[in-house]
Amino acid sequence: MGYGAIVIGVSSGGLKALGEILPSLPQNYPIPIVIVQHLSPRSDGYWIESMDKICKLFVKEADEKEKIERGNIYMAPANYHLLVEQDRTFSLSTDAKVNFARPSIDVLFESAAEVYGKELIGLILTGSNSDGALGLKKIKEEGGLTIVQDPETAESSSMPAHAISTSSVDHILPLEGIQKLLIRLGERD
């Protein structure tokens, strides 16, 4: 069975962690990737361009109503929640913060789980809060695959630790292991 999407949630220490995982994914990687990275509300998206420069896949900010397609890595815009619609397009929302965060990882994960069901891979990386734990639980309940960065190896262990204690997680790995696993999951497609 092929996977329809990978959703990633990451907070403090995120740019470094993403910088280790994303550039290793091959150009023909068959699964679209959607990321919520907690950032300052005024962040201008410059970091998205820098990420694009070091990745083989196309890295872009998610636009409202945009169709989710393979070959792309989508980043939630600063100060908006990002949701996935049944027709596999994006919605944005300025709804109140969830877990003190906008964009919130839970909001993306929960809406994506409803759409992709068992075709979804959820990944929680470093971060110093608890956002994403409930979203990852929901992905698991819908039959998706869940991966969490080993808290011992994370720059901030709290977000991975919360995710692990909230639901049973399929894989707990350091960044290098995550990178290899993602590549392997892509090859099965």
Binding site: D63, E64, L92, T94, A96, S111, E114
Partner: protein, 274 residues
């Protein structure tokens, strides 16, 4: 096609009931957003299914009001996206200056923060005296709050910073009076603002205006509904008038994108072609 799951059927029926009973039409709002709001209310109110809420919606007026309020996201702030207001000063004010009187329609104004921001900006540019701002929303509770122009003191720091980054020419504290808890917007800013209830989905063209601001409202609409509202904006604007959308809202899917010229691509400011 797979059978729709029960929750989705229940949500469709709930939206239908809201429309038939209360006249608010959420049937073409984005599904993920509507579902999230409805499920939140369901959990908060302690119900297990949307069907149980259907009964409350039809027979319990105060519950219905809560739900209607949930479905209209009123989150806003003063000088939200300061870069946008800087661009208004630099790119739109010179256009507005050419008109002897100015009409601005602020659609989906929520609790008014953006409206007062604009009134401050126009005052500083010497234009407020000859401007009328029509500030509309379909949420009466938000409008009533907006009219009062009272906001919580703990937001002032953030608003002051927004104001400064936006290119404010004076001191933000010139525009309100404060006690320990509240800040109240000055009366003279309110003079030329007309508050009105207007529903973008069910009401029609508003007025012949020089500028429309509709920020962070259309993101909640499905594509066809966006197109319908864009058509209404187009008809409401005079030739050469300006349309301002939210910073993440495009004209990408509007059938009308070619009849506008981009004044500021990043800030989503468009000028209606002659």
């Amino acid at each position: 096609m797979a059978a729709k799951d029960s929750t989705e059927i229940e949500i469709d029926l709930l939206l239908e009931a809201i429309y038939q009973k209360y006249g608010y039409d959420f049937r073409q709002y984005s599904d993920a957003h509507i579902k999230r709001r409805i499920m939140n209310r369901m959990v908060l109110a302690g119900y297990n299914t949307v069907s149980e809420m259907q009964f409350q919606l039809l027979h319990n007026k105060s519950f219905a009001n809560e739900l209607l309020n949930d479905l209209s996201i009123t989150v806003t702030e003063m000088f939200r996206d300061p870069g946008f207001y800087r661009s208004v000063r630099e790119k739109i004010v010179p256009i507005l200056k050419t008109y002897p009187f100015i009409k601005i329609w602020h659609a989906g104004c929520s609790t008014g923060e953006e409206v007062y921001s604009m009134a401050i900006l126009l005052t500083e540019e010497g234009l407020m005296e000859r401007t009328t701002i029509y500030a509309t929303d379909f949420n009466q509770r938000a409008l009533d709050e907006a009219k009062q122009g009272i906001f919580s003191n703990n937001l002032i720091k953030e608003y002051t910073s927004n104001y400064q980054v936006s290119g404010g020419r004076s001191s933000f504290s010139d525009y309100y009076t404060a006690d320990e808890n509240m800040a109240i917007i000055g009366q003279n800013l309110k003079k030329n603002i007309v508050w009105a209830n207007h529903n973008l989905v069910t009401d029609s063209v508003f007025a012949e205006v020089h500028m429309i601001l509709c920020r962070n409202v259309l993101i909640y609409f499905k594509r066809e509904l966006q197109n319908k509202v864009h058509q209404m904006f187009y008809e409401s604007l005079i030739n050469g008038g300006v349309l301002c959308l939210g910073s993440k809202e495009g004209m990408y899917f509007s059938e009308l994108k070619d009849v506008y010229q981009e004044l500021d691509r990043k800030q989503k400011i468009f000028k209606k072609k002659y």
